[in-house]
């Protein structure tokens, strides 16, 4: 007698309740705490990868790839500052604090950036002598916490960056958990060792763009109008935020998309607040153009920049330079598979390690543990960063030459098309193979 079993359907997991969502529910149920991690948004969002360059053909004349000059320099801060900055390449190193990073990592960032003629940036926690010593061009961040802020370092800086927000957490403050508060970090921040250090989300002595204008004037007065002053914003309402930064007197606007990293904040914040960089650049550029300030107030963009194509696309959309953070750490050695055994011990894997706030980084970068920090050779890591920066510049030049441009700043939206409707709408370039730019039909809503 033959038996018959009803066939089962193939096991299917929910698209909504995927493995990650399920693991997060279990984690939350076990701890009662939200998840904190470092890095930027990991979810898939419309991205620079959704754009393509057209290159030259019958109607455009390319430059010879290896011979004809294609400039990469950029001048920042010539609106008001007596001493504007000139970078040799349009790629800068984003603000990352001593505290979130080891002193060795900060030194390596300075070495790498200096070797390529570009700038690095302090972070929440102040300026270390090592960082100043190894950075030929150093931008000093002016943050709500004012940890380590003092007029001597302000005068030592080559530029000042007033941080209003960052892409990973627009509207949020910072957090450096107690396990990373070493004696030196604590001393620089005027706080006890070993306690969580919260960085406020609002500046303590100004509110809104009218106040910011007065604050910027004070910083200029203290430094005798010599230093370029940047204003850094997280990508939220880029048109108005950029316009208000310009109104407040910024020399440079730094715009950080949601893929931009943070040392530590809530996962829910990183993944659900703010705009992807792709969606933020054109509104910011539009604001500058509407004010007649494009190329007069420079625009630096950041958040998910990985290669020279990303650099070139940002410049083509109207930025003057880009800034990198996560990619720079990877160049130093962060998340390197060479540490896979240790990553496994920490419950993760190379490429996914993001518990930077715990201070147990096997690569010795996001830590204050002296034994771990020693693993990073600042000279060697700085060399790797310089190599990586060189590749970014070379790749951007390669694309610019292919588009017939003698300077990377000559790239323009007309050189681009989009692979998706979403990217076409956000970047305001045509969908590939068409002349359709979604949103250009109606100006009803206007810029945001």
């Amino acid at each position: 007698m033959s038996s018959y079993h009803n066939p089962h359907t193939f096991p299917r997991k929910s698209a909504a309740f995927d493995d990650y969502a399920l693991s997060e529910i279990r984690r939350a149920a076990a701890t009662g705490l939200y998840d904190i991690r470092g890095g930027g948004a990991k979810r898939k969002v419309p991205h620079l990868d959704d754009l393509l360059f057209l290159g030259a053909s019958m109607s455009r004349y390319p430059l010879e790839g290896y011979r004809e000059k294609c400039g990469t320099n950029v001048i920042l801060g010539d609106r008001f500052a007596k001493k504007p900055i000139e970078l040799k390449i349009p790629v800068t190193i984003a603000g990352m604090s001593f505290g979130s990073l080891s002193a060795e990592a900060k030194e390596a960032l300075g070495r790498g950036a200096s070797a390529m003629g570009t700038s690095t940036t302090t972070g929440d926690g102040g300026m270390t002598p090592e960082e100043r010593g190894h950075s030929s061009i150093l931008v000093y961040q002016y943050l709500p916490s004012r940890y380590g802020m003092n007029p001597d370092d302000l005068r030592k800086a080559d530029a000042i960056e007033v941080v209003v927000g960052q892409g990973a957490k627009p509207g949020g403050g910072g957090m450096l958990l107690g396990q990373k508060i070493s004696e030196r970090v604590a001393e620089m921040r005027c706080l006890p060792q070993g306690i969580d250090q919260r960085s406020a989300c609002r500046h303590p002595d100004w509110t809104g763009p009218d106040d910011l204008e007065i604050k910027i004037e004070e910083l200029r007065e203290i430094t005798d109008w010599q230093k370029p002053i940047y204003v850094k914003i997280g990508a939220a309402r880029p048109y108005y935020d950029t316009a208000l930064a310009v109104k407040a007197g910024a020399d440079v606007v730094v715009l950080d998309g949601m893929q931009g990293g943070t040392a530590a904040t809530q996962e829910v914040f990183i993944e659900h607040v703010g705009l992807p960089l792709l969606a933020a650049i054109r509104p910011a550029v539009q604001a500058l153009q509407d004010l007649g300030m494009h190329r007069k107030v420079q625009l630096i963009v950041s958040g998910g920049i990985r290669n020279g194509a990303d650099v070139a696309k940002c410049l083509a959309l109207g930025a003057d330079a880009v800034s990198i953070g996560t990619a720079a750490l990877v160049a130093l050695g962060d998340n390197d598979p060479v540490h896979e055994t240790e990553y496994r011990t920490l419950g993760t894997t190379a490429g996914a390690y993001d518990d930077w706030h715990e201070g147990r980084d096997p690569a010795g970068i996001t830590t204050q543990d002296p034994m771990l920090a020693k693993r990073l050779d600042p000279v060697l890591a700085g060399r790797r960063l310089a190599n990586y920066l060189a590749v970014l510049a070379l790749e951007a030049q390669t694309i610019a030459r292919a588009c017939g441009k003698s300077h990377v700043h000559n790239l323009e939206p007309e050189d681009l098309v989009a692979l998706t409707v979403e990217a076409a709408a956000m970047a305001k370039v045509p969908l590939a193979g068409t002349d359709w730019i979604p949103g250009n039909e109606s100006r009803g809503r206007g810029p945001y």
């Binding site: 916490s145 007029p151 005027c190 706080l191 969580d196 007065i214 604050k215 004070e218 203290i222 005798d224």
Partner: protein, 228 residues
């Protein structure tokens, strides 16, 4: 000692600050016609004295080092913000964020101070002879805030290691801020602050209450959710 007189009506704030930064040897300055202008006498890095004859706007004496600055009038937002050392004396009232994030030195306000007095202070000694507004000493890290009058709501919210002394009433305490025992060491500390302001013998330290951090929020745990 000669006094160098700067009239802001003719030389402007830039002229004043440029002179203060360039001429560090000059020991006494008088500033005329401040007229509520912003950023007056900011970034001084010299043991000089500056007298300002009138009201000042935002950030007067910001990031001061070593200098003694007297405002013969009222001060706008952020007077003596991020001061490192020296002394700033406001003879009138001060607007909000007086002494914000200041690392050192002393700030004396003869009148009242508005909201957020001593916000994120990092070592400064602030003394207010009148009242202070709400959210004062928010996230105050170090230093002392002495108030001869009353304090507004949410005093010392999320305070770290700063010490607050209030002689009058407190409308309310912020998260993790509690009243603490006034031991002899604290009375001695307070006496020193009063003496530095020329108030020794005039004010009894026994009339003050001390406030500071309960230190329960120093490391985040879910058990403290109700505190926020």
């Amino acid at each position: 000692m000669t006094t160098r007189v700067i009239d802001l009506a003719t030389e402007g704030v830039r002229g004043l600050n440029a002179a203060l930064h360039a001429d560090k040897a000059h020991k006494h300055w008088q500033v005329l016609n401040p007229a509520g202008l912003h950023s007056i006498a900011v970034g001084i890095d010299a043991p000089t004295t500056v007298e300002i004859d009138g009201h000042v706007g935002y950030y007067c004496a910001g990031m001061n080092k070593h200098a003694s600055v007297t405002v013969k009038g009222n001060a706008g937002v952020g007077v003596a913000e991020n001061m490192m050392s020296g002394r700033v004396h406001v003879l009138g009232d001060a607007s909000q964020a007086a002494g914000a994030t200041a690392h050192g030195g002393s700030l004396i306000i003869d009148g009242n101070a508005s909201a957020r007095c001593g916000i994120s202070m990092k070592g400064v000694d602030i003394l207010v002879k009148g009242n202070i507004g709400h959210m004062s000493a928010f996230m105050a890290q170090a230093g002392t805030l002495t108030v001869l009058g009353n304090a507004g709501d949410a005093l010392g919210d999320s305070i770290y290691e700063a010490k607050i002394f209030v002689r009058g009433t407190v409308a309310g305490l912020g998260a993790d801020c509690i009243e603490k025992e006034m031991r002899d060491e604290h009375k001695a500390l307070l006496f020193g602050r009063l003496k530095a302001a020329g108030l020794d013998g005039q004010v009894d330290v026994g009339e003050f209450r001390r406030y500071g951090s309960a230190r329960k929020l120093y490391n985040f745990t879910t058990d403290n959710l109700d505190a926020y």
